[in-house]
Symmetry: C2
Subunit: 253 residues, 2 copies
DNA sequence: ACATTCAAATGATAACGATCAAGACCGGAA
DNA sequence: TTCCGGTCTTGATCGTTATCATTTGAATGT
């Protein structure tokens, strides 16, 4: 797969889809409020838009690979993306699931430290590092926003270290479901029937477990009346308080 | 311990130790080159120094606790610090060991997300978030440097997620030793007899293992001729290539 | 030198999650 | 509809690491 990408950023088609006369970033609707382009002055948005490149990508599309020259930063407009790192023998660790408004692609040594792949059909905004750097100092609010988002990412990564290093399978899954639920709420979606746009394998590689353990844990939580599994790809948080207790490591329950 | 802190930032003594006539940050010697105060103009350093507070802390001193109001950012001048998060039942995950030049204490919601504790006697520089924020926009290079350091921290955290989620005990220990060795080199110390200023318990809580497993793994690696354990708190990297192979997950070996 | 204390190493056993192996389910194509 | 490919679930067993228990060792103080 991905040998013949049906669409990519190079295709001018993507740019043509954006009405140049429209207020820049109008396309982004809600996302404007939470993405890194939020909180900017009209002038800043205009300037930012001039170096932006929008694209619609299909599901399971590799945006870039670990080690690729890091030329762009991305912002998710709509859809979902996963970031992962690999060991030489194929073991995989997913380091993040991204949704509308999330940013990715920052790198220091000219090479991405992870692979980025869409989970579902996804719209992205792309910015060139070089051009952003060139505007350095001219868009203080943007820089500050990117900084803040990076600090948030770091804190989230630290939470995940606690999960990976010290939580049980049950606690890991509970934490994961709550995180997804909260994230859905941020996007104005209901907290409870949570959509899981990723496969069991993805969940396993995010939580440091195997597919089988993830599956068994879902089944157990369902048996215990903590969650419901109405349809593939959807979870009902029947007992959110119970989930929270589990997630925080309240031994019993 | 820490019930009667023998020294702290509030004590004016710490400030008196700094010669106000000396070029600011002269005390920091080498650290100046790698800390976040590096790469600043003379004017910026002067301004930064005006809101700085230096302190010498003893070993095993709690600098702040998870949940405390986040009022300061810190930079390690000399010594070593560990950052950790706790679960309600006491399970602990160390999310980082910090050395000269490292920064910590960034927070978003007014509360530190982790506890910070010295490993050994340590000198710190402290800055008030409020004052730094007040200077926002006036010290672009400082902001950029802090951003860069945060991105680096994030990438390091992502590496650690791969370790915690997907590496074996042996691979974890190998990775840890290599990381310490590289870090020592950055500080101009030799790569090979690496100092371990932290306890086995700290290492275990950093790698998501138990004390016993860490101990056994050290013993094994020694038996296999990959490392040497000349004295408590020191490790010789006998076979660095072997360690690297292990760390990257080269199944065999 | 010896007692005391705490950290580290080692040993024995258990458990959680991994691995191996079927079988169930679901969606898409003919 | 039926077949086919995949993912997900469930079952049986194994193994790595955790847990429990003890010994060794190193540092500190008397």
């Amino acid at each position: 797969m991905n040998l013949m990408p049906p669409l990519d950023f190079e295709a001018p088609k993507a740019d043509r889809d954006i009405d140049p006369a429209a207020p820049p970033c109008r396309n982004c609707d809600v996302v404007r409020e939470i993405a890194f382009c939020a909180d900017l002055s009209a002038d800043e948005i205009k300037r930012l838009a001039s170096v932006r490149c929008h694209a619609q990508l299909p599901a399971h599309f590799t945006i870039f690979r670990e080690g690729d020259r890091a030329e762009h930063v991305y912002s998710v407009s709509h859809g979902a993306v996963k970031l992962y790192k690999l060991l030489s023998d194929g073991r995989r660790q997913i380091i993040g699931f991204l949704f509308s408004g999330d940013m990715f692609g920052l790198a220091l040594d000219d090479g991405y430290a992870y692979t980025a792949e869409t989970l579902v059909a996804t719209q992205l905004c792309r910015f060139t590092h070089r051009k952003l750097d060139a505007m350095q100092g001219q868009m203080p609010r943007l820089e500050r926003r990117m900084f803040t988002m990076t600090v948030k990412d770091l804190m989230s990564a630290q939470e995940q270290m606690l999960l990976l290093g010290r939580k049980t399978a049950r606690e890991k899954v509970a934490t994961f479901l709550l995180k997804l639920s909260r994230r859905a709420q941020v996007q104005g979606l209901p907290a409870s029937p949570v959509a899981l746009p990723m496969s069991r394998a993805d969940i396993a590689d995010y939580l440091g477990l195997t597919i089988e353990t993830v599956s068994r844990t879902f089944t157990q939580l369902k048996k215990d009346g903590i969650i419901g599994l109405p349809a593939s790809g959807h979870v009902v948080l029947t007992d959110e308080a119970g989930l929270k207790e589990l997630a925080e490591g309240a031994s019993a329950a």
